[in-house]
Symmetry: C2
Subunit: 452 residues, 2 copies
């Protein structure tokens, strides 16, 4: 059957469409890959590191003297690398230690169980072994539900069940079983060691450092929002605000999106040895406390932003002039206090200057409260138009409270982790700078502040 020319062209173009579709898909995947690598180049490095580790360990397999010793068990080292090598040092260490020690203990237990079961003869052995396996599997599986065990030893529990079954079931003699166990434990230790060494010594990614940076970044994101707020005039129309504040809005929203990551990083950081500026027993838990506070702060900023961008938010000129100044001042000072905290965390120095700005913003909050109380403000205007503005004010006061708590938590971290004192030169420059800047808040420092 011959095809007409038209049909041929149709089929050809049909084929081309298919090829074109495939090509477009490939380009899309390539773009996504590039974006993923560009977003965090450490991903590429991690992939290369895993490839390298796996190649090194598989080379051992070809190295005869070692292979002769381990035999087929050398494969366990390869498997160990694939399952243990994780992104951060902490995760790799945690999984590696879990795997190594669970194999050791459960293997010994399994050998014991095997010996006991073998005593009961050929008929009894499978039954006794099955009972042992059933009991151990039930107990360890249930233990995985304990939150404290789940956080640190979940993988170890699984490997425990696995190794116990593996050793106790294996239909070999008592002598052989010890040899099997020895091979398994030593290959797994070897695999874990190579993973840990490569993870630590070739471009290490520390979960602790990540946690530290993330907390600083979150506080910086809050600072960005307040600075954007303080510089832009407060009660502008919605369109203007949206355009100008877009960056600062993205900033605080990223905090709300990324909650939960801190907990994961904390669980990994606990496994890590001392590195860089961090001691072995660095107070990682304090970071979770600060993280929770920044989250709460972002939470309230979201409410504030919703209030400002709602269509009902329209404020008369009179209110504007009354409320604007203290609001801007509060924002500016809060932003400055947060900036100080960020640089204190980043440089690991005592946050000495933050307190001044916190006090300034508290003074501004007091002024705002006074403005709201003065009857002059709410004469001759509709309550419904007044409420949103007042609302914004009270929300801001609320936010200032949380900023103070964040400052306290950072202070606590600084003393727990023995941050060094701020360089006198730096603070001198800072105070010089403050004198030069037209800082409306400074005059409030001497005003007595009421707490709460």
């Amino acid at each position: 059957m011959e095809m007409g020319s038209d049909e041929k062209v149709g089929l050809m173009s049909g084929r081309f469409v298919w090829v074109k579709g495939l090509f477009a898909k490939l380009v899309e995947v390539a773009n996504k890959t590039r974006a993923l690598g560009k977003d965090d180049p450490r991903r590429v490095i991690h992939s290369l590191k895993l490839g390298l580790t796996l190649t090194i360990v598989s080379m051992l397999y070809y190295y005869k003297p070692l292979f002769a010793n381990f035999g087929v068990s050398a494969m366990w080292a390869v498997i160990t690398v694939v399952v243990v090598f994780e992104f951060s040092v902490g995760a790799t260490l945690g999984k590696g230690l879990n795997r190594a020690f669970a194999t050791l203990f459960a293997g010994a237990l399994g050998a014991g169980a095997h010996h006991l079961a073998a005593l009961s003869g050929h008929v009894g052995q499978p039954i006794i072994t099955s009972i042992f396996v059933f009991l151990l599997a039930c107990i360890l599986t249930f233990m995985r539900f304990f939150p404290s065990i789940k956080a640190k030893y979940d993988y170890g529990m699984m490997i425990g069940i696995l190794t116990f079954s593996f050793v106790s079931i294996s239909g070999v003699g008592d002598d052989e079983i010890l040899l099997l166990l020895q091979k398994r434990v030593s290959t797994i230790f070897l695999g874990v060691c190579v993973c840990v060494v490569i993870s630590i010594f070739i471009s290490p990614f520390w979960a602790g450092q990540d946690l530290h940076n993330r907390i600083a970044l979150n506080i910086e994101n809050l600072a960005l929002f307040f600075e954007g707020y303080g510089s832009v005039e407060y009660f502008k129309t919605l369109q203007d605000r949206e355009a100008k504040d877009d960056k600062s809005i993205q900033a605080y929203k990223s905090i709300l999106k990324s909650s939960g990551i801190e907990d994961t990083l904390y669980n990994f950081a606990r496994w890590e040895p001392g590195h860089g500026c961090f001691q072995f027993r660095h107070p990682w838990k304090q970071y979770l406390k600060i993280g929770a506070l920044t989250y709460q702060c972002a939470f309230r900023i979201d409410a504030l932003h919703r209030n400002l961008s709602s269509s009902s938010f329209q404020v008369s000129q009179e209110i504007q002039t009354q409320i604007q100044e203290p609001c801007m001042e509060m924002s500016m000072e809060t932003g400055k206090a947060l900036r100080q905290l960020v640089s204190s965390i980043r440089e690991m120095t005592q946050p000495t200057l933050a307190e001044i700005h916190t006090n300034n913003s508290k003074a501004a909050a007091k002024k705002l409260k006074a403005s709201l109380k003065s009857s002059r403000l709410w004469e001759n205007c509709d309550l419904l138009t007044l409420i949103p503005a007042a609302n914004v004010g009270t929300l801001l006061v609320d936010v200032v409270d949380i900023t103070e708590k964040i400052a306290e938590a950072v202070q606590e971290l600084a003393s727990l982790a023995h941050f060094k004192a701020a360089k006198p030169a730096d603070s001198a420059i800072q105070s010089e700078k403050e004198k030069l800047e037209p800082n409306i808040g400074v005059s409030f420092v001497t005003i007595p502040i009421s707490s709460g």
Copy 2:
């Protein structure tokens, strides 16, 4: 050296203290275990199921005809059970299918690589194989960073690297490698099959059912809060409110705490076949949408609650009488609307009655707005004392908006999942009930409602 009598007693009591401490610790662990089992008895059943599956598969090891066929590879079936058997059917299926198919494809690829490398002779083989392993490990590890792959195929990628290395490195001939591959694939398929069968046919825990129940429970928790709010008089002193509302506060806080679980359940539910009232392609994604809305609602309730329990919240008698009625009405009606949605989800029927209550609460919101606008309210009172009350009002109005969105999302779910029409008998009873109840909101149904 002899000990004095006092020293002996001291040592004895020291020992007893140690024993006592151990005993206290044991009792504590036992109590925790009991609490964990009581909290969700499915945990105990899951542990027993895993023990049973593992025992069944390890029995196969002792069953000579099968063992003769598989040899030592039978151990892979045991290992598969330990790593694949998860709590829910969806998680087990997802992990099992990932493991089985990744082993199949990567194994075939590994055999091909092994064949190619063998062509280059004894010296070239290790080098060529290492290059293959390095490349595949790098590519698959990087692919694990793609969010879409991470959600569904993360485990498969890891098993892919593992099997490819395992097969391509193994220092055996081409014939043997096919046998090895065949054994590995068949034992792993066997393990996965036993896991899936036990997971589905013995007391199955469906992630989809869990997700369905959780969404219904979350909406019920919101309803609880509003009912507690509607029945208790609104502007009572803090102490009274704390005591009475404790349950309803716990309820909405549990929503804020459990965010993120829905995403996990959704990822598992996608793997599950049709079960119970759920078809294979049940619109699970819609549950995430409803979940996000309930989360937002709980978010705002939290702000509302913070406002009410703050020390500055004191309201004059006059405001109370003005605002109280519409606020209570809004809460009551919102609570009723949410209850309707809950029973609609639980019974998988169309939520026909919810709309009436939503409209009622919108009418009440309008009334509240009118109250706030009337100048009579804010004459002769301090603005600062008025703001918190007005704030509570506006927050409530905000919450009513979200409730409406939740109702729409549930309606959408009902049409996507083809929920059956509500039983006429039920709705008749319901409307009877409504006639009997002193429902202050019903009269508002006919009032024209402004949207937004």
